[in-house]
């Protein structure tokens, strides 16, 4: 039982934080999003060159051979600096899924992604299924050696920037069944695929997909035909845990900036941090940060536990981190007063990022319901 980072993990944390300070100074970040630009491809390649995308790739495959704890370390820094880069799709989901690509498939893709040359996005949601991973209606009909994909995907994180998509589609069973879900690798230029890019409030450039008879080969299958769900679940669990760490980094930054503001802003002839109502609020924010850190650790360290324990821990953590992080972000705005409502300060952007993270893969209410169902 210990919660200490290894020396290597500390170095990684410091490296990510330094990178964040050097390249994501808030005015620079804001100028970039005001220009309507997405993430910075140059910075992304530098992150790749630093090896951050290969953390969970085995050493035998030229990766770093690390674990979800390393991912957590990076994602805290991603949240703290409000990074816009598609780390979840490329650094978490791609290494979890692409090793299972069928023989003859685009086996070089993982290396391209690890080099920062290609971007992958998971289209995890459908219009009628909300956050339910098994609610897959998109169909994949086999025609000879090919599959024809038809359906709609409502959300693909960073999808407007993606070169490739992982598309869950049904090869058997009915929506709601875990069995019969297959995963397909689809290039963005595939005929019949329409990528509807939309910017979210946190300046992530996501997409909805319409698939109208998209033809892919059998070598585009990831994992077994009909048996893609466990792989999808695994990848999504890793992605959830990564986003918990991102939330943690963002909420702690919002809290720390608020604490500085309380100690410097003067009203009524004194710093506003001398007022007890604000002190108590700040303490509740500090407690919320401690709870979120504890739950992030729990979820991360439970990834290797047996399935029931693992899914309960992840559901509990996703619910609580969602609640506590939004509490902190909303209070950060409140305690900043008028300036907290301004787009010119990072505080509001933390609230927007945390709103989107809570939504990702199911919000607090969704995961609390999952938790309750498992407890019964």
């Amino acid at each position: 039982m210990n919660f200490d980072l290894t020396d290597e993990q500390r170095l990684l944390r410091d490296s990510v934080d330094r990178f964040g300070r050097e390249h994501y100074d808030f005015p620079v970040w804001r100028a970039r999003v005001l220009r309507g630009e997405g993430f910075d491809r140059g910075l992304w390649r530098r992150m790749a060159a630093l090896g951050w995308l290969t953390l969970t790739v085995p050493e035998a495959q030229d990766g770093y051979g690390g674990s979800a704890i390393d991912t957590m370390v990076v994602m805290e820094g991603v949240g703290r600096a409000l990074m816009l880069e598609p780390y979840v799709g490329c650094g978490v989901i791609a290494p979890a899924l692409l090793p299972h690509l069928a023989p003859g498939g685009h086996s070089a893709l993982l290396a391209e992604i690890m080099a920062g040359e290609a971007v992958l996005s998971l289209a995890d949601a459908e219009p009628g299924a909300r956050y339910d991973l098994v609610g897959v209606e998109t169909r994949a009909e086999q025609q000879g050696d090919s599959y024809v994909l038809t359906g709609e995907k409502s959300h693909a994180l960073d999808g407007a920037e993606a070169d490739w998509f992982v598309v869950p589609a049904r090869t058997a069973g009915a929506p709601g069944d875990a069995q019969g879900v297959s995963l397909f690798l689809v290039p963005k230029a595939a005929p019949g695929l329409a990528v509807h890019g939309l910017r979210a409030m946190d300046h992530r450039r996501n997409a909805a997909l319409a698939l109208d008879g998209v033809v892919v080969g059998a070598d585009a299958l990831i994992g077994a035909r009909d048996g893609g769900y466990p792989l999808l679940r695994h990848a999504v669990d890793l992605a959830i845990v990564a986003r918990l760490a991102e939330a943690l980094g963002a909420m702690e930054a919002a809290y720390e900036q608020t604490l500085v503001y309380l100690k410097t802003r003067r009203q009524f002839g004194q710093v506003i941090g001398s007022f007890q109502a604000l002190q108590h609020r700040a303490v509740d924010m500090a407690i919320a940060c401690e709870e979120a850190r504890s739950m992030t650790y729990l979820a991360t360290l439970s990834l290797g536990a047996e399935p029931a324990e693992r899914s309960r821990a992840i559901a509990a953590a996703k619910a609580r981190v969602g609640q506590t992080s939004l509490f902190v972000a909303r209070q950060a705005v409140q305690l900043h007063g008028g300036i907290g409502f301004s787009d010119e300060l990072a505080i509001g952007h933390y609230l927007k990022r945390l709103t989107m993270i809570d939504m990702a893969f199911g919000n607090a209410a969704h995961h609390r319901a999952l938790y309750a169902a498992q407890a019964a």
Binding site: F3, Q279, S294
Partner: protein, 391 residues
Amino acid sequence: MDLALDPADLAFRDEVRAFFAENTPASFKPRVRAGMRLEPPEFVAWQKLLHARGWGAPSWPKEYGGTGWTPTQLFIFETEAARADAPVQYHQGLELIGPIIFTFGNAEQKARYLPRILSSDDWWCQGYSEPNAGSDLASLTTRAVRDGDHYVVSGQKLWTSYAQVANRMFCLVRTDPDARKQAGISLLLLDMDMPGISIRPIITMDEIHHTNEVFLDNVRVPVANLIGEEGQGWSYGKVLLDRERGVTAATTLRLSQQVRGARAAAAAARTARGRLIDDPVIADRLAQLEIEVTALEMMVMRTMAEAASGQDSGPRASMIKVRWSELLQEVTEFWVEALGYDAAAFAQLDEANAAGEPWPMLGMLYSRVTSIYGGANEIQRNIIARRALGL
């Protein structure tokens, strides 16, 4: 970073688990589960049982008769106690005055008092609060005037838990009325049979006699009963802050008991549409409480792991105390709500009608004091804001 216990700790866990399974009296369990305190003779019996096993003082160093356990072992011990519905050890001797005596007391005081705390032959009560010194404890006015080899103590103490069964009291008194607030305070050890001490019971809203007013009328206390130096009494309390992590772990980990009880009550309750626990609103509320308790348990686990490796946990122990009391209240409130009209069966009116077991209601009522005692939650927030947040 990992959650796993090493083989030695796993073996220790099995040993502790077996002990609690074998030795926890069945009669304790329903009340412990509801978050109630046991009766004083039961506390004494439990302490003697642990002492006989060599576990009388889980958090004390070995040289004073403690177990010398690591924080990880303490965490395991308390987790297993919670699992078995075993009670928390009564803390006023063991966790409040004992550590002050072994840190600041002289050799004679250590030899005289510590063994009798371990064996529960002494029951200590705490003479701190006064009618006009609650949250603002340092404004206490009980006077101790030096007269030869004695202090003559006069004043009034309030909220003195179990003064009615205690044979000793550790008491904050003002020895220098002219010194600045905290500076004139000393810590004296009183025997409750000293002439001039009288007790008035205070019945609390759970209809239990936990606590008292204690009147001190020219009580002659030997100077040998002074802890440390005159005028330094206030500063001795600081040792408790350092030990707070262990006490916090012991009480906080018991929340799982109340959650278990509340869940069982919701599962047993029937409505016209089936089990209460299958009502989505009820299931959702219960899940929320369980998730918050899980977060708090993880905070305790991190705190104990940090203690094991000698790291500072900052204000986390105070944060845990705040959240623990809030959650204890919410969980026991939920439990009583789940009982529905069964919660009206509080006490017996006549021999023909048995009242059943009012423990959840008593636990819920008792829980109200947990956000007040030991520094009200508002005071805790003041302290965290000042010491940790620098506000």
